[in-house]
Symmetry: C2
Amino acid sequence: MNEKKSRPIGVFDSGLGGLTVVKMLLQRLPHENIIYFGDTARVPYGDRSKQTIIQYAKDDIDFLLTHDVKAICIACNTADSMAKAEMEQRYRIPIIGVVEPAAKMAAATSQNRKIGVIGTKATIKSGAYAAVIAREAPDAEVISVPCPLLCPLVEEGRFLPGDAVVESVLRDYLAPIKAAGADTLILGCTHYPLLYDVIETLLPGVTLISSGFASAETLIRTLDSLDLRNPSTDPGTIRFFVSDAPERFAENGGMFIGRQITGEVNRA
Amino acid sequence: MNEKKSRPIGVFDSGLGGLTVVKMLLQRLPHENIIYFGDTARVPYGDRSKQTIIQYAKDDIDFLLTHDVKAICIACNTADSMAKAEMEQRYRIPIIGVVEPAAKMAAATSQNRKIGVIGTKATIKSGAYAAVIAREAPDAEVISVPCPLLCPLVEEGRFLPGDAVVESVLRDYLAPIKAAGADTLILGCTHYPLLYDVIETLLPGVTLISSGFASAETLIRTLDSLDLRNPSTDPGTIRFFVSDAPERFAENGGMFIGRQITGEVNRA
């Protein structure tokens, strides 16, 4: 019996962004089953208070637990940076976030010890990235910039090089990071991998770290250490749940995960 | 005893935008007491499904009713266009929206019978503006454009003439309205009065109709017809409630209402 090991991994985000993390998990853990929940009835989390984000994260995890998940991946930088400590106190299940893996990777990558971080207002205000970097690389300077317009722009499909609006907005946001001469930039929101190409043209030579990539590696190590890897050699199954507007999720989700998807509805 | 008449008017919106309607009410109904509720824990409503918006509108009105309001003003185009009919069935209190007053005013204003409407995705998808205009001015052509990036831009303070980003985004959105030669444009979202000056420069000679202005006039007529005007000659009182992040509400609300405000928290 491998019942415990074949249970799914639960992944949640405020909406669509977490699908970029799922994309990494599908590549790195192709035999695992996944349950995804996007809280599309209450997205975005990035401007909300800590108290509200903790409540929402709890609701999201409670839903995933109804699917008997073996581990939780918080695929939302805002929820991770604002609520992870409380969730770890509340639940006994392994919880992997996006902030700590990306921050550690940045600390290990930066040569000149100048690291930029971009994210939502809540993520930046939490200081979560800066705190991990301070622990891992105490000599590093961290330049953090809240970028509230990037999620709406990405969701409207405005993330490609040559889009004058997104380039102008990004140029403003990235100016202090460029001025400081950072050699490493953490894309501290799961929407931002779609902006990779634009950011690369604006910050040539800077190493860009997507939180999803680092997170998948951490999840692999965690599952291995607990002997929870699914031994199946079949492709894993994946189900997507949202709290609102599944047709919009199906329509827009594809650009985040790189394939066609459909969402089932779970209303609170 | 004028107890019934001195009861407050309840106003709600998904967040901050409804404050532009309150601004009009303060000018036109200076002796009325007002209770405002902004659902900042679940803002924005503009991308959500009809079913979810109906549930949220119900929650918002239920909260206002705990303050014994004598009438409700739905100061949110999305909630009004998606949920007003259901709210009128559910509640016996007078409910004034923003859509019908503005659509009637536009129908009465347009000379060349070409009327533009801009709003959130949900507002435009509802067809609420087009339906009222079709009834009031059957010969009029309506050009409706969803403008999902305008609310985030306004909330970030990017609404002034000369801001290249907002001008570029607006130029795209307004192109079909300009091409059709509309002589009247409904600003079908309570955030958009802040964009008045930019839109005016992009559409010279076009009459711009803010939903808040028309709504205040309709509210006056409704209160008069029901003999519910507050006979007091003192300035009315106003209290602001939000479901999350009152400090952010106080910080950003000023630009919508044109004065300093503070918000009290009502969590669901």
